[in-house]
């Protein structure tokens, strides 16, 4: 759908509905006569009003509601929410429960990363329209992805009840905590796939990867002892350092007319990158040794991961190893917590926290009234934060491909967008901009 | 034509006539006529004046209505012992269906005007006859409802599995 507009001689380049991403989005590029590219990632997911839907609700209700923002990473939404509420109420969560939450997060990372690596992104590198088509030639690869993904889902199901929209998370802990016996089988299964996860790192590092080079600012949580999931401080590659509740001190949201999603920006307007690459680079020291070794074995430097956006699949695979290895460690030492949840009292005030969804930092902020009910909410998903970086990268990368045959160019641009593992329906607020208006 | 005594005897042999008092039986028989009709004979026409009330003694009658595009549809058939032409005594005295003999049939017919006059002047007779007429109409109504239920039809609309 390449069209020439005669007056300006600009080249308009449109990619229809993005596929193999979660949610509904479109890409629109405008190339001017001088070769400059303006990129617009348009999100046309229908408005879902989550920030309003939680108003008047109790914190525990909110945890069930915000899970519904995203079917792939519901745990992340529950985790940002639950930590926000607990920090406001001053709940002392039992150590065993905290560990179980990390285990839950490991499950979601395994599930989400395996899905993205094997089912959504690998077909780009190997030249297939889908994993199902890829399976005709690379059945073992797809089966491996499904095996890993299944274990991630299973882990979330044992801790949370089910893989999509788990039911066990509540303020103070869980409704129910599993016995060690319930983990016996998956513990062995995870041991059984650790090698496969490690091999995946080498495999994706060896994929034919487009060249791309640009500098980018990275943002993630960072914790001195743990690989970032729910705890730590918000840091950037250029010196930002904030408590997880203080995201708004350095970032804000803006509305852009060509996209239906609110975008988040740093105070200085410089786009920033969230997600596996940001975490691997910023928290390399906290990676599980097994994961670090797998990364080192590829010979890829942290800087290579940071500068080439197409290498995100490697970061994701490294985190896959980390999540499997950490889950095994947790299960080896698992003792069922004495009590599933700590009691707490609602309190008025602001509850805010950020945790690391599979695709990056996820910030929640709630204002609670005297009864402990939600009065206002702000939910900033990773994709809305990454959107500016995606558009920036498209503008950098597009000039090299727009003159290629349209299908090839489309494929390359989609591959780039998929490198961010965008999670579009998790954008909680959207605008609708028509193509006409955009012209 | 068969004699009047024949009418009284045959009338007694029907559901309509079996329990009539001698008085009622005599008065009705006096205006009744026995007729034989061939298959295809039209006894009443839908929409036209219903000029007779009748009782089928033998054979089979069809009650038909005309439906645009579908020709004449048989709504119901009449068995021996049953009646036809109840519109003869119910205003506006027009037939609600066309009555056709499907087989060579034997009927008793009562002239509509004579029957109405008789029922007007003879209350005792009217008290005996009207409940029987109501029964005829009620049976037709119940049967029609049952037909509407479409009992033998497929039980549910097509499901894809």
């Amino acid at each position: 759908m390449t069209t020439q507009t005669t007056e300006t001689r600009d080249l308009e380049f449109a990619v229809g509905q993005l596929t193999r991403v979660e949610g509904e989005g479109r890409l629109h590029l405008r190339v001017d006569a001088g070769g400059g590219v303006e990129a617009q990632l348009q999100i046309f997911e229908a408005p879902r009003y989550f920030e309003q839907l939680v108003v008047g609700r109790t914190p525990d209700e909110v945890l069930d509601i915000v899970a519904r923002i995203c079917g792939i990473c519901p745990v992340a939404y529950q985790m940002s929410g639950v930590h926000a509420f607990e920090s406001l109420a001053g709940v002392q969560v039992d150590p065993g429960v905290r560990i179980l939450r990390r285990l839950l997060y490991c499950g979601e990372w395994i599930e989400s990363h395996a899905l993205h690596i094997f089912l959504l992104h690998a077909p780009d590198f190997l030249g297939y329209a889908s994993a199902l088509e890829m399976a005709a030639d690379h059945r073992e690869l797809v089966e491996r992805g499904l095996r890993l993904k299944k274990l991630g889902n299973r882990l979330v199901a044992i801790v949370g009840g089910r893989p999509v929209h788990p039911v066990s998370v509540r303020v103070g802990g869980f409704y129910h905590v599993p016995t060690a016996a319930e983990f016996a089988e998956i513990r062995e299964q995870l041991r059984g796939v650790l090698d496969e996860a490690i091999q995946t790192v080498a495999l994706v590092a060896g994929l034919e990867t487009p060249a791309a080079d640009r500098d980018t600012r990275l943002v993630s949580l960072k914790h001195p002892d743990q690989y970032p999931m729910s705890d730590g401080r918000i840091v950037s590659s250029d010196g930002i350092d904030l408590a997880p509740s203080d995201w708004r001190d350095a970032f804000h949201e803006v509305q852009v007319p060509w996209s239906n999603a609110l975008q988040a920006r740093a105070a200085d307007g410089v786009p920033y990158l969230l997600g596996p690459t940001a975490r691997v680079v910023l928290a390399a020291g906290q990676l599980h040794p097994v994961a670090r070794a797998a990364l080192d074995a590829t010979g890829l430097s942290l800087d290579e991961l940071r500068r080439n956006v197409f290498r995100s699949i490697v970061s994701r695979a490294v985190e896959l190893v980390h999540a499997v290895a950490e889950a095994i460690d947790i299960l080896d030492a698992y003792v069922r917590p004495e009590r599933p949840f700590a009691p707490w009292q609602p309190r008025a005030g602001v509850a805010a926290w950020a945790t690391e969804a599979p695709r990056g930092l996820l910030f929640h902020r709630y204002e609670l009234d005297d009864e402990g009910l939600i009065r206002a909410a702000q939910i900033v998903p990773p994709t809305s934060q990454n959107q500016a970086a995606i558009e920036r990268d498209l503008e950098v990368f597009a000039p090299a491909v727009v003159d290629l045959p349209h299908e090839v160019a489309t494929h390359r641009l989609e591959q780039l967008i998929r490198s961010y593992d965008p999670c579009i329906s998790c954008a909680t607020h959207f605008l609708d901009v028509s193509i006409e208006r955009d012209r | 034509m068969i004699g009047e005594s024949g009418v009284a005897t045959r009338l007694k042999g029907t559901w309509f006539g079996e329990a009539l008092s001698p008085h009622a039986s005599d008065r009705l028989s006096a205006i009744g006529e026995l007729r034989r009709v061939d298959a295809g004979a039209v006894l009443l026409r839908e929409g036209a004046e219903c000029d007779r009330f009748g009782i089928l003694l033998d054979g089979l009658l069809s009650l038909r209505v005309a439906v645009a595009g579908r020709g004449r549809a048989t709504l119901m058939t009449v068995e021996p012992g049953e009646t036809f032409g109840w519109s003869a005594v119910v205003p506006p005295y027009r037939s609600t269906s066309t009555v056709v003999a499907l087989q060579p049939s034997e009927v008793i017919v009562f002239d509509a005007e004579k029957l109405r006059a008789l029922l007007r002047e003879d209350e005792a007779l009217a008290v005996t006859v009207y409940p029987r007429l109501l029964q005829v109409v009620s049976r037709r109504l119940v049967a029609t409802r049952t037909q509407l239920l479409d009992l033998y039809a497929r039980d549910r609309e097509y499901e894809p599995w």
Binding site: T19, R20, R48, A135, L146, K149, H165, Q255, P257 | -
Partner: protein
């Protein structure tokens, strides 16, 4: 009729307003996914494949509720191109969580979330698919149950009716030997009103069912709500119904009261104040 003679049905998987979790459930059938791919032609499934098809479809699985005028048009067209349309999940079958905006507060909400609400095109109500087009079958749940999805696909392939029982969650809960969280724990459990399919998940996790599969036939809302009201306030009873299937007819009355009670929020310290508009890219 043997199953092997059936040609691979052309299947589409599309979404309206939703979280993608129900279509993800198809990908979560890890053990069967490749076999499904061999037996069904997944001709349209943007979440999983770049290959696209505008139909016709033998079976179209639709996730999500109708929330925009564009979707309302789209679903009519999709219906015409589909032999069989199956709605999957609470959004598609009951309006889902989006439908909690259906009591006339949508314009206000729009204004509160977006600095320039006039750019938003959105219907006043988010509604289930069946409000717009004929639906041949539905899978309930938020999200749907993978086992029920597999049963649907198996039934489609074998030409039998899918076994999707319309009974209370309680039956499965008791078959699993789970002790009743309502009777023995005092938890407000919606299980007696809710159709089964989840495997009585929440009671198994020591919490009350929150009705994500929606009302079952003969759901006696008045009776259970009355029982709950014995030890909690009216608004607290109402909020039990204002969940992911609150727009379902049997729950709607209570849900409406709850949502009205919630008010419009964000009024005093609007998040929107923090948000700016940005007409220029890369500002």
């Amino acid at each position: 009729m043997t199953a092997t003679t059936v040609a691979a049905p052309r299947v589409g998987v599309v979404k309206m307003a939703s979280c993608d979790g129900c279509q993800l459930t198809l990908l979560d059938l890890e053990d069967e996914l490749l076999a499904i791919g061999e037996r069904f032609e997944l001709v349209e499934f943007p979440e999983a494949t770049s290959r696209r098809s505008e139909g016709p479809y033998d079976v179209l699985l639709v996730e999500g509720s109708i929330s925009t005028p564009e979707q309302a048009e789209q679903i009519e067209e999709l219906r015409q191109r589909s032999k069989l349309l199956v709605t999957i999940g609470a959004c598609a079958t009951a309006g889902g969580i989006q439908a909690m905006r259906n009591w006339g507060n949508e314009p206000e909400w729009r204004a509160m979330v977006y600095p320039e609400p006039e750019h938003i095109e959105s219907l006043a109500q988010a509604r289930p698919i069946a409000d717009y087009v004929k639906v041949d079958a539905e899978l309930r749940g938020c999200p749907i149950d993978p086992g029920q999805l597999l049963e649907l696909l198996t039934a489609l392939r074998l030409g039998r009716r899918p076994q999707l029982p319309d009974e209370a969650v309680c039956l499965e809960c008791k078959r699993l030997g789970q002790v009743c969280v309502l009777v023995a724990g005092g938890a407000p459990c919606m299980g007696p009103l809710t159709v089964t399919g989840c495997g009585a998940l929440c009671p198994g996790f020591a919490r009350g069912c929150y009705a994500c599969f929606g009302p079952r036939e003969q759901a006696n809302v008045a009776s259970l709500a009355g029982w709950f009201a014995a030890d909690r306030s009216g608004p607290d009873v109402d909020r039990l119904f204002a969940g992911f299937t609150g727009w379902s007819e049997p729950f709607r009355e209570h849900a409406a009261r709850a949502v009205t009670h919630f008010g419009t929020g964000n009024a005093e310290t609007s998040v929107q104040d923090e948000r700016t508009t940005d007409e220029e890219p890369g500002a």
